[in-house]
Amino acid sequence: MLEIIGLQVNHGWVRALRDLSLHIHKGEMVAVIGANGAGKSTLLGALAGLYKPAGGRILLNGRSVTGKPAEYMVRQGISLVPERREIFNSLTVLDNLLLGAYHHYRALKDAVREDVKRVLELFPALRGRERDPAGTLSGGLQQMLAIGRGLMARPSLLLLDEPSSGLAPLVVREIMAALADLKQTGMTIVLVEQNTAAALKVTDRALVMERGRIVLSGCSDEMISNARVQQAYLGRVRAARPAAVL
């Protein structure tokens, strides 16, 4: 459904993505792993329309969406849950969710209410907090809200940038379980993660990025036993995080 051909993105003088090509199939859940500064967030940002490519093409269901702004991409069904969450702190949880449905709010009012219910079913921890300002939530709940807001746009492709970052293992497990549920509904998901072990466990396929390129890709199961991945990413993660995550 998504085809990326020779994508290049620069941040000023920094060449964050260099000639990156990638194909993502419908219903697939793909993990993107890689060291700090490898370009993972830039890849998601470019797909969501936050960064304009300096070269290459992005095709969504065969149609070019290269260089279109974020407002356009979300209407095409690409929803990004960004690294810094970017929720609306001083608005309520409910308002955050309703704003997530901005691009079809008027047309689908009743469906939007249903979607709010569904998000609260997916993340029961948010229940009872609907009237609270989003900024007063704990980090884990804010992450769930950010994902919920992303889902309110009814995306066909959901992009998640390090949803487990800074969260306790128990919360990470809750979020990963929710993502696995989403995958069951047939949604296409790209998951960028530093928590490699957790990411490989829920995804079908994994890509390793290094300095703006994809240097390795394969089935997530195989990646777990891949020597290079183990040494570079899993070793570190295992040392840093207890087996509870695995």
């Binding site: 969501a48 970017e86 746009a153």
Partner: protein
Amino acid sequence: MDLTGQLLQLLFTGFTLGGIYALIALALVTTFNITGVLNMAQGEFLALGALLAASLCAAGASLPLAFVIAVATLALLGGLLERSAIHPARHAPGLILIIITIGLSISLRGLALLIWGTEPASLPAFSGGGPLFVMGAAVNPQSLWILGLVALAVAGLHAFFELTYAGKVFRACEINRTGARLVGINPAALSFLAFAGSGALGAAAGIFIAPVTLATYDMGFLLGVKGCVAAIIGGLNSVGGAVLGGLLLGILEAFGAGLVSSGLKDALSLLVLLGVLLGRPEGLIGAVAGRKV
């Protein structure tokens, strides 16, 4: 008139002036929070609105009709100016955008001079009858209209931003621009609407104050500066602060002019501005430099 009466009189004058500044400050703060642009041409919106309405009235239109036409025209003009002058420069630093609005202010004043000349135009007071007397102090009924418009504008803005979905879309953009874009909000469209709203509110304010101040091509300059001072006193980030800042400045001016010297009136607001800037420069500079369209 005894001393109490005199002080009360100054207070009433202060409230009238303050109401006018508050109306300008309201538009400034609202636009600033949405677009990051401090619109130095806001005073000109008042002048053009008042002059246009005065011409329409002179041509035989009723006051309500003149009001509606002038407000609609200035809304359109505000939007057009945003598209033609602000939007193309939206990625420029905040200071450049302010300079652009100063340029707009000068151009609009020139345009008003060409169309209306230097003769002041007047509008009839909204309600007839002489001043009301409260404990010996006179209250011009038009002052009550002005304060009424302030109250209506505050209530309207509050209801819009707190209670409506569209209002929350604006706030979302103000709170987190990236987040807003990711849900599909186009900040450029909101910037257009903010300037159109500023034009409309400016025209309404101009028409409400014209019976008191008369309408001249250059009335907007000082009003714009003082509205700006009021907005800055109010902290540039809240509707309530803008109104308080406006009223405070108006009362200060009235008392300064009445008790010390009338020459002090205009200098006072600049002194206050200086005081605020020296008192909390980082807050202000941070607020001006930290946001962009």
